[in-house]
């Protein structure tokens, strides 16, 4: 339902998603026993695998033997060519309390989506938190010497190509309603900001001024777009409305401003400026005014992305950034009140770039480059666990986690 098959074709190279079957018990996690599903063995096996993977990736559960788990799942599947029905019961063993009892229906091709919905409802029922299993990730696919946009499920499955321009299409960003993606396209030679409607496949050009048009990102209410333009002399920050009109210039510097990201309240915009001689994160009011420098160390911080945790979340809003330390890129987090210091969260000696927050404000997707090829990884910032998504032939970069 999210992306119609008619506008997409599956990437040929994507298949299974590998995660080691860890059942370690981390403090604060619920132990969860998946007993599986009765019924058609093939469907039941797939449903079980997807459910286990979703629960593991959620970060809230450690998978445990049914006999010793705090929560235990049981269920059944029925299915034929016309559709499937998945019934699931989750019980708290000690109290015999039924935490969830539901049936889910879907087409036979939609098994993964049906289970993602079930997984998110289990997360909601047992933790009160919003799950991420039904979300999507857009990314840049390096293909045949060019760069195309693609969209996939959050777990790396169902990747679909979104552009077929045989050009350079980069830096996708989602509209808050998940219906549109804005990005930078070199299809007409010069870098322009385009928008694609995922429901209809229609594209339109939102900004095509002289020079650089890039970095477009929707405000939290979806009504405005911040972006970088160089039409007035050097790369500066601007805002415009979602139709591409009512352009307003925010910054006036002799340096370059890029990579805007809206604060959760939509009132300020964080961005990169090298005004101090090195790239650092700055902040400016959405209507302009005096910029405020946010980060001081390390000496190179770029690609800021504000998290937007839901209202009832335990997570606080944070900026994820790409820092450069000793010649390597690492992912770091910045919080207000941290005296300008970015704390590394992925610093493994490889190049890690382009962090983008999941809507739960807890998970990040980022690009890790190994042997000069970039692939996408998920990070749970609470547990620190990284998971590699299925490798994409040619490489994947600049991910954007959808709403």
């Amino acid at each position: 339902m999210f992306i119609r098959g008619a506008i997409c074709v599956a990437l040929p190279c994507l298949g299974t998603f590998g995660v080691d079957a860890q059942v370690d018990v981390v403090k604060g996690r619920h132990s969860f026993g998946v007993s599986g599903f009765t019924g058609d063995a093939a469907i039941a096996g797939q449903v079980t695998d997807v459910l286990k993977n979703d629960l593991r990736l959620s970060g809230y559960f450690s998978l445990a033997p049914v006999s010793s788990a705090e929560y235990v799942q049981s269920g059944s599947v029925r299915g034929d060519r016309n559709g499937i029905v998945v019934e699931c019961v989750v019980m708290q063993q000690a109290t015999k309390r039924v935490a969830l009892s539901k049936a889910y229906q879907g087409s036979a091709q939609d098994v993964r989506r049906v289970v993602h919905k079930l997984s998110d409802e289990i997360v909601q029922a047992l933790t009160g938190q919003r799950g991420i299993a039904e979300t999507k990730i857009a990314f840049v696919w390096s293909h045949n010497g060019g760069k195309e946009l693609a969209v996939m499920d959050y777990d790396g499955y169902n990747a679909r190509q979104l552009t077929y321009d045989r050009s350079i299409s980069v830096r996708p960003r989602w509209s808050p309603d998940g219906r549109k993606i804005v990005y930078t396209s070199y299809k007409n030679v010069f870098p322009d900001v385009l928008e694609v409607d995922l429901y209809t496949g229609q594209r339109r050009r939102l900004a095509a001024y002289p020079g650089l048009n890039t970095g477009a990102v929707f405000s939290p209410d979806g009504l405005s777009i911040a972006l970088t333009l160089s039409k007035d002399g050097n790369p500066e920050l601007y805002t415009m409305n979602a139709e591409g009109t009512d352009l307003r210039r925010l910054t006036h510097t002799r340096s370059a401003e890029s990579s805007p990201t809206w604060a959760p309240d939509g009132q300020t915009i964080a961005y990169v400026s090298d005004e101090s001689g090195v790239p650092q994160i700055w902040q400016i009011n959405k209507d302009g005014g005096s910029p405020l420098r946010l980060t001081v160390s390390p000496s190179y911080n770029t690609e800021p992305d504000w998290s937007r945790p839901p209202g009832n979340s335990d997570m606080t809003p944070m900026l994820a950034v790409t820092s450069r330390v000793a010649g390597k890129f690492q992912i770091g987090l910045y919080q207000k009140g941290s005296a300008g210091v970015v704390t590394p969260v992925v610093a493994d000696g490889m190049d890690n770039e382009d962090p983008s927050w999941a809507p739960d404000g807890r998970h990040l997707v980022f690009a890790k480059t190994v042997h000069w090829r970039s692939q996408l990884y998920l990070l749970d910032v609470v547990t620190g666990e990284q998971v590699q998504l299925q490798a994409v032939e040619g490489g994947a970069s600049e991910p954007a986690w959808g709403p």
């Binding site: 190509q161 830096r171 496949g201 339109r204 002289p210 009109t245 770029t302 890129f329 770039e353």
Partner: protein, 182 residues
């Protein structure tokens, strides 16, 4: 040579059309408004909807690369220091040669800004643009009309040397110049 030249000729035509049809990308053509903003669907985009993408024509890249320069204006790339958009004194003579050519010949100049791979993607797009603008501003000082020039930043997406060492990086931190005849 013939197929390459043909592609090049077609693509020069494409660029010429982009620049000469009053497109707002022509330097100085746009004011504070956006002529195409909010005009609805771009219905002519092939690819999305059919999923083949194989008839989309030729990528615009070949004419803009180091090997795709038009016959009449082959200029050496202007090189830059790491994370810098300053024109080195040693590169001035290259810009003087470009300026002399432009003053003696018709046509428009496309200035490409490029970066090495040791910066993040979007930051490098801004840095590449600053390099192209620095070269353009220097050419203006040397007497080339700014309305004849436009800039394209490719960030780190189009290295001329695919290597991963200082020798490759030094070549990739550059501006290239493409003369487009009208």
């Amino acid at each position: 040579m013939s197929s390459k030249l043909l592609a090049r000729t077609i693509l020069v035509g494409v660029i010429t059309a982009v620049i000469s049809t009053g497109c707002h990308h022509g330097n100085g053509a746009a004011g504070g408004n956006n002529p195409q903003g909010g005009t609805g669907a771009e219905s002519s985009v092939p690819g999305i909807g059919n999923g083949t993408g194989s008839e989309n024509g030729i990528s615009p890249r070949p004419v803009l690369g180091a090997n795709g320069l038009p016959e009449q204006g082959q200029f050496p790339a202007v090189l830059f220091d790491y994370d810098s958009a300053r024109i080195r004194p040693s590169e001035e003579s290259k810009l003087e040669a470009v300026a002399a050519y432009m003053k003696a010949n018709p046509g428009k100049l496309v200035i490409e800004g490029h970066c090495d791979e040791r910066g993040t993607a979007e930051y490098n797009r801004a840095l590449g643009e600053r390099r192209a603008i620095a070269a353009r501003d220097e050419l203006v000082k040397l007497g080339v009309d700014s309305s004849r020039m436009s800039t394209i930043s490719y960030g780190k997406d189009r290295p001329v040397d695919p290597g991963h060492d200082e020798a490759a990086w030094a070549k990739n931190r550059r501006c290239e110049f493409v003369v487009v005849t009208q």
